[in-house]
Subunit: 188 residues, 2 copies
DNA sequence: CACTATACGGAACATTGTTCCGCTTAAGCA
DNA sequence: TGCTTAAGCGGAACAATGTTCCGTATAGTG
């Protein structure tokens, strides 16, 4: 019953172009930020813009596709950190990691905050994948009484993203304002 | 010696148009946010775009001009609050006020964070006018030992701006994340 | 009242996201 | 292997927007 809607395979060149686009996007984003013109990405991939838009409904979806892997990895790290560290420490470490992720991606933070509907896919992606991860961390840290319990994970996630536009210190610690926020989380 | 470079007065129609532009901009910004197209503002003012651009080198300068008055008022409020309240309380109240200001201006926060060089004039304006005000508040609160001393006023200002995109609660208190940040400021 | 620098309006240009469509070509079939 | 056909392609074209340019109009001055 599963083959009723599969008259043909995906064309090989289509799949190749899709890969080329993802690779090109990764390169261009790293070099020029996520605001890079669609044409630039298409050119780098050696295809026309039309091809880009057949594979992705809009630029935001392309951005989302490029970062999905890393976002998944970040989400997965939450569970690992929880196993190897005390809750509050795991939370701090994970936030630091998240901070680094956002700061590393040129313009990602700006895109997140821009409010531009063109980037709607990004918040949805982050919320969907990282929301549960952060919720687990917050719950664990709240259970030990280290932090307050009235914190909305999504708001915190958004806030940390908002504060992460400045590059983190070379030593890998989050920027001072994120640290302040984490301090505010503690029970007094 | 002061008149050597004043061969003529400013033309009356020029001054009128400038006022019309500022008024129109205020209206349009309130209605459509600071991202409103330049043409829309020019039309509302009943002038051509050329006129807009002779009075302001770019849209950011226009935005800056429109908000200058309110920014000045916000800066002035710092001194007043310091006189009528204990330092830490004054700080909290002023931050709340600043938060409300940013959140009220549709798109101001987005513009601040966008990183778009087109908006460079805005951070400069905020830093120039509000930086000293916040420094005074922080110094006073640090002197009484209520808050830590290692906080960079400019970073904090930027951070609060970053977090103020969500509308404040109806009761006028700042959003939860700003409150968390203010809590992190306290000495333990 | 004439003259001229100032100011004006809006067409024109550049950049970017996105859509459209005629042409190409890979996949399935005989 | 050669045909047929729909999936896929490239890039011209369109729309929105910031900004510049320039021929025309006019306020201020003597």
């Amino acid at each position: 019953m599963t083959a009723s809607t599969e008259p043909r395979k995906v064309r090989a060149d289509a799949r190749q172009n899709l890969d080329a686009l993802l690779t090109a996007a990764r390169t261009v984003f790293a070099h020029s930020g996520v605001d890079a013109p669609a044409r630039e990405i298409a050119t780098e991939a050696g295809v026309g813009v039309g091809t880009l838009y057949r594979h992705f409904p809009n630029r935001a979806e392309l951005v989302a596709a490029v970062f999905t892997t890393e976002i998944d990895a970040t989400a997965a790290a939450a569970a690992e950190l929880l196993e190897s560290h005390p809750p509050k420490e795991a939370l701090d470490l994970w936030i630091t990691r998240f901070t680094r992720f956002v700061a590393t991606k040129q313009g990602l933070s700006a895109a997140l905050r821009s409010g531009d509907p063109a980037f709607d896919a990004l918040p949805a992606l982050l919320i969907g994948k990282l929301g549960p991860a952060l919720t687990a961390l917050l719950d664990a840290a709240a259970a030990t009484g280290d932090i307050r319990e009235d914190v909305d994970p999504l708001e915190l996630l958004q806030a940390v993203g908002d504060l992460s536009h400045r590059a983190p210190s070379p030593d890998g610690s989050p920027n001072p304002m994120v640290r302040l926020l984490l301090d505010g989380l503690r029970t007094r």
